[in-house]
Symmetry: C2
Subunit: 409 residues, 2 copies
């Protein structure tokens, strides 16, 4: 863990993926992130994959390096404690609805310079999740094999909840923008990030919305080909599938050399009357003929030979892995400084844990931290942040307003 | 445009998607983002979709609200100007290699408290792009229809360059973390964000890496079903495809009511011996039987009726749209405050433009800004930031070291 944000304290009242991710990124950069949950755990506390003992491997990865406070959030008293914690910290990440007890106004009443970051569904308050905004975005009807009926292809949902992760990272950015603004001006900010706006806004930012409007219709199906450039998956003689990409003349020349296609490409260039090294345009326009040539060449070579050639030419390529293969690949995980040794996870299961995506050369990266047990820091946080006495806290626990750690004794 | 970051000036030397996205998010929050490109434009200056006049709709959306400086970056003098601009701003976003003239050290030599954010391919310096890190991540071999041969499914690449967009948002966050740290301590930071680490790190953060290791193998194929919960695409009697999600008891009860399945579900619960409202687990475990019941019900109703019922029950659902349908959907675009009127785009094409994903209630959102013409701000920036005289700048232009706007006269 780096310490860039070590002076920050953030209350996170959230569930699922986007909102916990925003807190995770801050925690991995050294912020104190206190996740406040209902006594029985948030809606995501039992998200798959569950271990035999019922511990969520999803939860314990999305909530690393955070503290946990467990309160009865159905009770007035529990809600007041959460509002008081958010007001004390002055920084709040949440995906609770604005029309809840945790509105910006409710917290800002006692903390006018509050910076709150609220992840919403659609901008108008309608519920949405990654899976549903994705359906609206247009991407699922563009995904999948090129040969599918272009007039009526089935939707293909992504497995990566991409909108959640983009929203989480963007929300961490927006929160820091608000915090920095307060530090310079004294003003708080209420920031709202609708998941649906991240999706349709990304369609716009990528240029795809302008493209569809300019075309007056939808893009042709591309399968695994890269839009507007040269790249696709190919299969070696021994059946290894791999992806190659050439978006620059240098990448293109490297691929042609690695595949041993110098002569064949020269013949095609003569036939097409273009230089294929000149730009993406002729490579994309003639992609089907080029794909045939590349697949023919790939089918002549075993993967070991082909990879040696791709490596020697400095090509941009990667072999497809199943996720289990990825998880056990030393290049990706064991030998990658992104990962550190397993901390003592709540599940008891031992496996590599990720540090922050950003690395800072010359600064110690520290080791990844575990997620907390639910309520593990209830006592400490109520005492340190709200100044409650141990007697007061014990009474809250007795009355069921607060809960201590769910770690099995 | 909001003004949270209006006191910041950032030099961006970048291309493609991830790195320009980081600058875009900062610019949409009011930062002065100065993109410095080679005279002929960066590697992404001609990225598809191109208009008939050859203007990239991709470029003009990923570079909104930025300034543009065009220099001969092959010349020593042009490179020195870029290094001087980065040193003057003190903030740098780039995807140029560390082993280039724009290393952190080269800029920090005259600006020790520089905050640089460098987007890389793999952490070890190997080249990578969204398409290739995606192949390594495991997701493409999990994507696509459930009925495909589980032992040897073809890879399905995502069309959304999700890793680029996650990396872009995360990089904007990491940059602000570094800037804020400097403001508190005086220290600069060199932050590196490898695209490959964002991919394999997200596999870890999502819990999927732990899941595969815990299983000792890969997850079963799910098609469009939501992992570990209830949700899938269904088709109405009149052929409308739509996605539904139920991750909470409330969402589940709403869906059962909207589909008119109260009795059928009660029968299934009796047969299974479980309460399907109790948790995700029985809904996921029995998903195939449930999917059959839901599809049967959906096939009885036209979409208009079904949607009215889904809306009345407050369900989380969305109909699939093609991207052209999404781009022309008033709910998503024309009536969505995320979008503003078309600025004067370099392409001359007029279409809705997105504001920042984050909205701040009660603050004026301002209108989206256009991308610059290449070199549009060369003169202004060299004068204002480096104090060059107009004669000096004219000489740079004459000698081909700097270029003015490529706007057709």
């Amino acid at each position: 863990m780096y310490s860039l944000l070590s002076d920050l304290s953030i209350i996170e009242a959230s569930s699922f993926v986007a909102s916990p991710t925003a807190g995770l990124y801050c925690a991995q950069m050294g912020a104190e992130v206190i996740r406040v949950d209902p006594k029985e755990g948030g809606l995501d506390y039992d998200r798959y994959m569950l271990t035999i003992e019922g511990r969520s491997l999803s939860w314990e990865n999305l909530n690393r390096a955070k503290k946990s406070v467990a309160l009865d959030l159905r009770s007035e008293e529990g809600r007041e404690l959460l509002v008081a914690l958010a007001a004390t910290a002055g920084n709040l990440i949440t995906n609770l609805p604005e029309q809840s007890f945790l509105s910006h106004g409710a917290v800002a009443a006692s903390r006018p310079d509050l910076v709150s970051l609220r992840i919403m569904g659609w901008h108008d308050g309608r519920q949405a999740m990654d899976f549903t905004v994705n359906a609206a975005s247009g991407y699922p009807l563009m995904t999948g094999p090129e040969e599918w009926d272009a007039a009526n292809p089935p939707p293909v949902n992504h497995v990566l909840p991409a909108w959640d992760f983009i929203t989480g990272a963007y929300s961490a950015f927006a929160l820091l923008a608000g915090i920095r603004h307060r530090e310079r001006t004294g003003e708080g900010s209420e920031l709202r990030v609708p998941l649906g706006d991240v999706a349709i806004g990304t369609v716009a930012n990528s240029g795809a919305m302008a493209e569809m409007l300019y075309r007056g219709g939808d893009r042709e199906r591309l399968g695994n080909a890269i839009w507007g450039a040269f790249g696709r998956d190919f299969t070696s003689r021994d059946g290894q599938r791999f992806m190659v990409a050439a978006l620059t003349a240098k990448q293109w020349r490297g691929l042609v050399a690695a595949f041993g296609l110098g002569d064949a490409i020269a013949e095609l260039e003569a036939e097409f009357g273009v230089s294929l090294a000149s730009s993406d345009v002729p490579r994309f326009a003639n992609r089907h003929r080029l794909f045939d040539a590349f697949q023919h060449a790939a089918g002549q070579m075993k993967w070991a030979e082909l990879e040696a050639r791709l490596l020697a030419e400095g090509c941009t390529y990667e072999r497809y892995r199943t996720m289990h293969e990825a998880a056990t690949d030393p290049v990706l995980v064991a030998d990658n400084p992104l990962f550190g040794p397993s901390p003592a996870n709540p599940s008891g299961f031992t496996y590599p844990a990720a540090r922050s995506f950003a690395n800072i050369p010359g600064q110690p990266r520290g080791n990844p931290q575990p997620a907390p047990f639910l309520g593990q820091h209830t006592e400490q946080v109520l005492a340190d942040k709200l100044g409650l006495s141990s007697g007061h806290i014990a009474a809250l626990v007795d009355r069921g307003v607060a809960r201590l750690s769910d770690q099995p004794s």
